[in-house]
């Protein structure tokens, strides 16, 4: 029988069964976490729907039965859903089904990019506010409050005007749209990250870092940031849902891609007056938006449950 005198050795007595508190326990925990995620039906449904729309966005040319922009089908006017045109035709005789499938491309470009911008900037600001506290926190915090007080549409016009050249007026590109939404999302992300960073900065490992002469940027990025990553992941999934919604809203308000490009928000804007007699023209794009937002939120919920217990 061998007993290690240190009292705490990781290696158990050679002839004893290996206790489970061992170095591989972390990868085991991670495996079990992923297993649990894969077992969760909400997560799977969410992923399936999102994957479906991503496929649509990438391969819309191959999937769509008709050209979403140029084909004028049937009588060249709107027609109710039928076996040949599942979602019906719009007033110019275009196939609504094809337009819904192709309309995913724009939103799936803008929303993730906007989320990335919002998360990136918000994380930096949040870390700075949470770490320095005091004056820095107060000044940035008040600016954030001011930004949050501006209505989204006014904010979007302001930013788009600033981004557009003097001669061109307001022109919208997917990148500009992503910047607008990303900037609009920076304040709420910064607040969330700030709260997480505030809790971390009081832990002793931050003191220990100072006690070996580390500078503030290192402490924020190398010490605190890795510990607030779970919060950021949860925030990112939630923000992605909002970004889809916001992009659709801006498109509806004509601050998105321009006609005749198919886009869900734009389609609704063009057709919603007709909803009383040609409901299929606006209901199907609306359902598409709803399905993607709900799917992303299902994923967000599942991720949150697994990461935050």
């Amino acid at each position: 029988m061998s007993v290690d005198a240190s009292g705490l050795a990781i290696v158990p007595a050679p002839d004893a069964p290996r206790p489970e508190t061992s170095l591989d326990s972390r990868s085991r925990v991670r495996r079990e976490t992923i297993k649990q995620l894969v077992k969760s039906p909400t997560f799977l449904i969410g992923v399936a729907v999102v994957l479906f729309w991503i496929l649509c966005a990438f391969f819309s040319d191959a999937i769509v039965p008709h050209d979403p922009i140029n084909d004028s089908l049937g009588a060249g006017t709107s027609a109710a859903p039928s076996s040949s045109y599942w979602f019906g035709l719009d007033e110019q005789g275009r196939d609504v089904f094809s337009r819904v499938i192709a309309g995913s491309a724009n939103i799936l470009k803008v929303a993730p990019l906007a989320t990335a911008i919002g998360i990136g900037l918000g994380t930096l600001l949040g870390l700075v506010m949470g770490y320095f506290r005091g004056w820095t926190d107060n000044v940035i915090g008040r600016i954030i409050d001011a930004v949050l007080a501006i209505p989204l549409i006014v904010f979007a016009i302001l930013i788009l005007t600033a981004l557009s050249g003097q001669s061109e007026g307001i022109t919208v590109t997917p990148l500009r749209l992503a910047i607008v939404i990303g900037l609009a999302f920076t304040p709420p992300v910064a607040r969330t990250v700030r709260a997480a960073a505030l809790a971390e900065r009081d832990l002793d490992y931050v003191q220990a870092a100072k006690l070996r002469g580390e500078l503030a940027p290192y402490i924020m990025l190398a010490e605190i940031l890795p510990n607030v990553v779970p919060t950021i992941i949860v925030e990112a999934t939630v923000r992605l849902g909002y970004a889809i919604f916001t992009a659709a809203t801006l498109a509806f308000l004509s601050y998105g891609v321009q006609p005749p490009t198919p886009d869900w928000g734009l389609n609704i804007a063009e057709q919603y007056q007709n909803v009383s007699f040609a409901w299929w023209e606006s209901i199907f794009p609306a359902l598409a938006i709803a399905s993607l937002v709900v799917a992303v939120n299902l994923i967000a919920d599942a991720v949150q449950q697994v990461l935050e217990g």
């Binding site: 009292g7 050795a9 220990a208």
Partner: protein, 676 residues
């Protein structure tokens, strides 16, 4: 109550099995626990963290978390099958039969309601009118010895000290005159002097109300003082049960024997040799254990222990032990490893560290808080200075001001006769490397996202400028130095146990080849078996590197084991400073005397000096001697008017008291309590 031949026990657990469902699998936490608590009895349940103590308590309360499942056995309280209770029956059970007091009184009270509302509610639930309830609430507060119940009733919980809050919680728990009271670590968060008072109160009330009490604690001293019978829980199994004397004097299970030996016993010093430890660790919850639950850590284990689960052996009248080799449990081998010679402290040499008049005043809500009011001390190379005092006495502020983490309001710190800049950012990297710290809580002290190798490499780079292969080699040496296996370098802190994490923290503190390491309660977050191993390590490292320690602790046994000299702090002022021997042997400063006598002890002849009230606010310290408001030896007006100087009372021993040393010697020779 029927006076039948077999009275119904107040609490009976029959072969209780509890599991937690974690990540889709049932993990056993409590394994076939059977015990009974009779009416009017105080039963102690002792064990280290993670052994299932609180889970047992939660099962009795029917408060198991949603993933906690009773997989077998039963719980009855006063004859009622608790696990079968539903709806209104459960409400009645919680209202009338059962009460529980938790470790943290701050979270047991609703912070948004005044004490009066929370306390009267208990009586109103049982049918009293509002005015009757108020009268009874005031009575209940008087019963828990709250001096001014009317004013306490008007306050919010946060306006009360921890000790007062716990009294209010106890008053609430006893208000319903329950059949069973479960106390889960009720004094663990309290200072020793307050703990002693609360424990006295609990025993008195328990006797008066004749309540059955299940007292859960990790502290054998507290259990010994409070209980008549004790059960020792390990890995969810009751490994030994007996009377307090059976357990503390004649333990018959190797785990209990080991646990008792880990505690620095009365008067044991580092010069006397290493402390015994229990090797290995608690099996992770949910581990399948076909044999004895303690087999992995037991030096007496043989083949049979691995294959067969021992049933409780009757080893005395009321004494059982789940060990096949209970007859030779007391012969458990001791740790006899030799250690290098301890450094010889040269008193005449220039001190390594000289602290002059270190003071720190915080400003909070428009008040000045005098956290540290001018403390001076010196420390020789290789010496350990113990720092003791209640919470709020300025121990941690002292350590942080010394290290430069906070900038002191005044005073200076000199190493080798050279004064250091008071702010950390003004110090050179060799200054910074020369003084390091081991924090209290290793969970918070190590960045849980970094691997151990990175933690050490970064320290080596910043403190010594080592990089590449040299740094790697040094990291390997450090890991060896703290007796961790090399593969710990690849681990993240979350993969290590509490003791292992603290070893990594110690390795990090030693990475800059420090002259002085501040240990801020380094073992108070650890279990006693792990504590002993860490203390051994600290002494070994001191012997190897001739490092000096400033060792902060509230555990006087630990301080006595480790410290060469001891400083006693109260309200940011030095009350006494002397060698460990001087401070622990009479005559002491009256505050030291009170601290020493507050240590819970199973010894009934151990009479206690009672300190009344709580430590005064540092924003508004008392006039004259700061200790005069609580001092049991107070002389009179002189103590209220004149602050006693910190005077040399002979042989370099410093003391701040108006009572001359000879007089202290005389009055402390007579049993306490007889003197005013």
């Amino acid at each position: 109550m029927s006076a039948g031949v077999t009275p119904v026990p107040a609490l009976e657990l029959r072969d209780l099995d509890i599991a937690y469902r974690v990540r889709g699998r049932n993990r056993e936490v409590v394994r076939t626990v059977s015990l009974a608590v009779q009416e009017g009895e105080c039963y102690g349940l002792v064990g280290e963290s993670g052994c299932g103590k609180s889970t047992v308590a939660l099962a009795i309360a029917r408060y198991l978390p949603s993933n906690g499942i009773v997989t077998g056995g039963g719980v009855s309280v006063a004859g009622t099958d608790v696990l079968a209770l539903r709806g209104e029956e459960m409400r009645a059970y919680h209202r009338d039969t059962f009460s529980m007091v938790y470790q943290n009184p701050g979270t047991a009270l609703n912070p948004t309601l005044r004490v009066s509302r929370q306390l009267t509610e208990v009586f109103e639930l049982r049918g009293a009118s509002r005015s009757q309830a108020t009268v009874r609430a005031i009575d209940a507060l008087m019963e828990v010895k709250i001096a001014d119940p009317a004013s306490v009733m008007k306050r919010y919980p946060h306006q009360l000290s921890g000790g007062m809050q716990q009294r209010v919680v106890i008053a609430m728990a006893l208000a319903t005159d329950p059949k069973l009271l479960v106390l889960d670590e009720p004094t663990t968060g309290l200072d020793a002097t307050v703990e002693a008072e609360v424990l006295d109160l609990i025993s008195e009330l328990q006797k008066r109300h004749h309540t059955a009490v299940l007292f859960i604690s990790h502290n054998l001293g507290v259990i010994g003082k409070m209980c008549r019978r004790v059960g020792v829980l390990y890995a969810g199994q009751l490994v030994e049960e007996g009377t307090v004397d059976d357990i503390l004097q004649k333990a018959r299970h190797p785990y209990t024997v080991g646990l008792l030996r880990c505690i620095p016993q009365r008067g044991r010093r580092k010069q006397d040799g290493r402390l015994d430890t229990i090797p290995g660790f608690l099996p992770e919850i949910g581990t399948h254990l076909p044999g004895c639950v303690f087999v992995h850590r037991c030096a007496l284990a043989e083949e049979i222990c691995r294959e067969q689960r021992p049933e409780p052996f009757q080893v005395g009248e009321q004494h059982t032990s789940r060990c096949f080799f209970h007859e030779k449990a007391a012969t458990l081998p001791r740790d006899t490893a030799e250690r290098g010679a301890l450094p010889v402290v040269d008193r005449a040499a220039e001190p390594l560290l000289r602290i002059e008049d270190l003071a720190m005043t915080f400003r909070q809500d428009g008040h000045d808080i005098y956290a540290l009011a001018g403390v001076s001390a010196t420390l020789q190379a290789g010496e350990t200075l113990g720092l003791v005092g209640e919470s709020g006495s300025g121990k941690t502020t002292f350590a942080r001001a010394l290290l430069g983490i906070i900038e002191p309001t005044r005073g200076s710190v000199a190493v080798d006769g050279r004064e250091l800049p008071s702010n950390l950012s003004g110090r050179t990297s060799s200054d910074v490397a020369s003084m390091q710290i081991v924090f209290q809580n290793p969970d918070s002290a190590l960045n849980r996202r970094h691997r151990v190798s990175r933690l050490l490499a970064r320290s080596l780079k910043k403190l010594l400028g080592l990089t590449g292969a040299k740094a790697e080699q040094r990291a390997h040496e450090l890991i060896d130095d703290v007796r961790l296996p090399q593969r710990a370098l690849a681990a993240r802190p979350t993969q290590l146990s509490g003791g292992q994490k603290q070893r990594v923290a110690i390795a990090r503190a030693f990475s800059g080849e420090p002259r002085l390491v501040v240990c801020d309660e380094p073992t108070s977050a650890l279990d006693v078996s792990v504590q002993a191993a860490i203390l051994n390590l600290l002494v070994d490292l001191q012997a190897e590197h001739r490092t000096s320690y400033v060792f902060i602790s509230h555990d006087l046994g630990v301080v006595r084991y480790l410290a060469d000299r001891i400083a006693v702090l109260y309200l940011g002022r030095l009350m006494e400073l002397g060698t460990a021997h001087e401070v622990f042997e009479a005559p002491h400063h009256p505050y030291t005397e009170a601290l020493l006598s507050a240590v819970p002890s199973a010894d009934p002849s151990h009479a206690r000096i009672k300190l009344s009230g709580d430590i005064p606010s540092a924003a508004n310290p008392p006039s004259g001697c700061v200790f005069q408001t609580r001092c049991p030896r107070k002389l009179g007006a002189i103590c209220e008017d004149v602050e006693p100087p910190l005077a040399d009372v002979g042989g370099g021993r410093l003391m701040s008291c108006h009572i001359p040393l000879e007089e202290l010697r005389r009055i402390q020779a007579t049993p306490p309590g007889t003197a005013p």
